[in-house]
């Protein structure tokens, strides 16, 4: 959920940005990363782990662990915690590993 008011900080409400997550159209705001936008929508599970297919969510938020890897615009293993959302972006879970390209 978004913090609507804060005693110390002020958050500007930026322009809406529309993208898709696993085929579903979702909305974030300019300045959001994929993860912050999904979190604001209550989506915590980002992908599944490579072997045991355990649910994976955000962990470090600075692009240094591998917990948030997702497939973005067809590119696998994107660190969704540091990738800004863009209009029309296609974001997908990786279950379990990403595909390098769409099989025909």
């Amino acid at each position: 959920m978004r913090i609507s008011e804060h005693p110390i900080l002020s958050f500007r409400q930026n322009k809406e940005v529309h993208f898709t997550f696993d085929g579903k159209e979702v909305t974030g705001y300019e300045g959001d990363t994929i993860v912050s936008a999904l979190h604001a929508l209550g989506i915590w599970k980002l992908s599944e782990s490579p072997v045991h297919r355990r649910p994976r969510g955000l962990f470090c938020a600075i692009g240094h662990c591998s917990s948030c890897l997702m497939r973005v615009n067809g590119v696998p293993n994107v660190r969704s915690c540091v990738t800004p959302i863009e209009e029309g972006m296609v974001v997908e879970s990786q279950n379990p590993r990403g595909d390098l390209y769409d099989h025909v």
């Binding site: 490579p50 590119v75 696998p76 293993n77 590993r97 990403g98 595909d99 390098l100 390209y101």
Partner: protein, 381 residues
């Protein structure tokens, strides 16, 4: 630590451990293997891990085929439960000139004498094997479906464990300091843990084998050269075989785990022991890979490193006993192909050390250079 050994093997890579295993299996007792760091910490653990039977000389094809037989039946041969992750999805060799295509044609004939199931392929067939392969400028290629790769660390570990089970003593983090030679005979090895009396030493020190030779007073005609390699993040399997070209100078494979491993033969690399990675390698590799296998553009390189090729004058192994210093055996100069033929080399060294006739009729001795009988292997990167 034993202070007396029948054989001291120097080097805990794939060659040293497979030799230790072969010797012990023949009943040789009191074998000691010395490793300066850890198992497979040199060239073995840094290599591209390919196993190729598509060679141009009968001898190499033989060694590779025999070795593949061992890799195929590894658990049974070694009596181990370690899975070496053998994947046999083939090697696809690419030809860019008529000359290269002719060579492949001749190679396939040699390979067929040994029942290696290789075949020539057209560009269209190559694309069926690797759909996203860029066949521009390509004339065709050769493919052997039973080539493949295995995990070098696990293979080394399995050999070491099997050897230990047969009584071999393996000393890690132990360095050879000197080798005692009296009247041109090996008398013992000084290690960082103490002296071991022995009349047989096996030089399986890979990148450092010239230095081990020096310790026995031998100037071995080998030198070391840095070869770089990189690995990407894993993705779902999309490429079955190792893709390789001698003239375009590249090898690239996807491991069962999903990551791509690739490298090429460096130009003008100085001799030496430097194993630092370079940024220039990334640039050249990126150019090569993105041109040949375009979807790889979107792959992320996660790690790059380098290892030492131990180069011989004809880029072919030297497996023999020294004619100058009796009891000094060597399995050196693999020039980048040590892993894939190590099972056969272990057998040959065991033959030499136990004084048995060679299991296979091959000529890999040091004397070949004096006799001007160098091996003309056309298929090396």
């Amino acid at each position: 630590m034993k202070n007396k050994a029948s054989v001291v093997i120097v080097g805990g890579g794939i060659t040293g451990t497979s030799t230790a295993f072969s010797l012990a299996k023949r009943g040789v007792k009191d074998i000691v293997l010395i490793e300066r760091e850890g198992l497979a910490s040199g060239a073995t653990g840094r290599c591209g891990a390919g196993i190729r039977q598509q060679w141009g000389t009968f001898q190499n094809c033989l060694l590779a085929r025999e070795s593949m037989k061992v890799f195929e039946n590894f658990q049974e041969v070694l009596g181990t439960d370690i899975d070496i992750e053998l994947k046999q999805k083939g090697y696809l060799l690419l030809a860019y000139s008529e000359k290269e295509m002719d060579q492949f044609r001749r190679n396939v004939e040699v390979q067929h004498q040994l029942d290696i199931p290789s075949r020539l392929v057209s560009c269209r067939e190559a694309k069926e094997i690797v759909p996203f392969l860029n066949t521009e400028k390509m004339l065709g290629g050769a493919f052997c479906p039973t080539d493949g790769h295995a995990n070098p660390f696990l293979a080394t570990k399995a050999y070491a464990k099997a050897a230990e089970r047969l009584g071999v003593e393996i000393l890690m983090k132990t360095e050879v300091k000197a080798i005692t030679v009296v009247n041109d005979r090996i008398k013992g090895v000084h290690t960082s843990q103490g002296f071991i009396e022995t009349d047989k030493v096996v030089n399986a020190a890979g990148g450092w084998s010239a230095q081990i030779g020096e310790m026995a007073g031998l100037h071995l005609p080998v030198y070391s050269e840095r070869h770089e390699i990189l690995v990407t993040e894993p993705v779902n399997p999309i490429m079955d075989p190792m893709v390789m070209s001698f003239s375009y100078n590249i090898y690239c494979q996807q491991t069962p785990h999903g990551s791509f491993i690739m490298g090429y033969g460096p130009q003008n690399e100085p001799r030496g022991y430097n194993v630092n990675a370079t940024w220039q390698f990334l640039e050249t590799m990126a150019r090569k890979a993105a041109w040949l296998l375009p979807p790889l553009k979107n792959m992320r390189i996660v790690r790059q490193w380098a290892g030492l090729y131990n180069m011989s004058p004809d880029r072919q192994p030297i497996v023999c006993e020294s004619e100058i210093v009796k009891g000094f055996f060597m399995g050196i100069g693999f020039s980048g192909h040590g892993f894939m033929i190590a099972p056969a080399v272990g057998t040959l060294l065991a033959d030499l050390i136990t004084g048995s006739p060679l299991t296979w009729d091959v000529v890999l001795d040091l004397g070949r250079y004096d006799r001007h009988e160098t091996i003309a292997e056309p298929s090396v990167v």
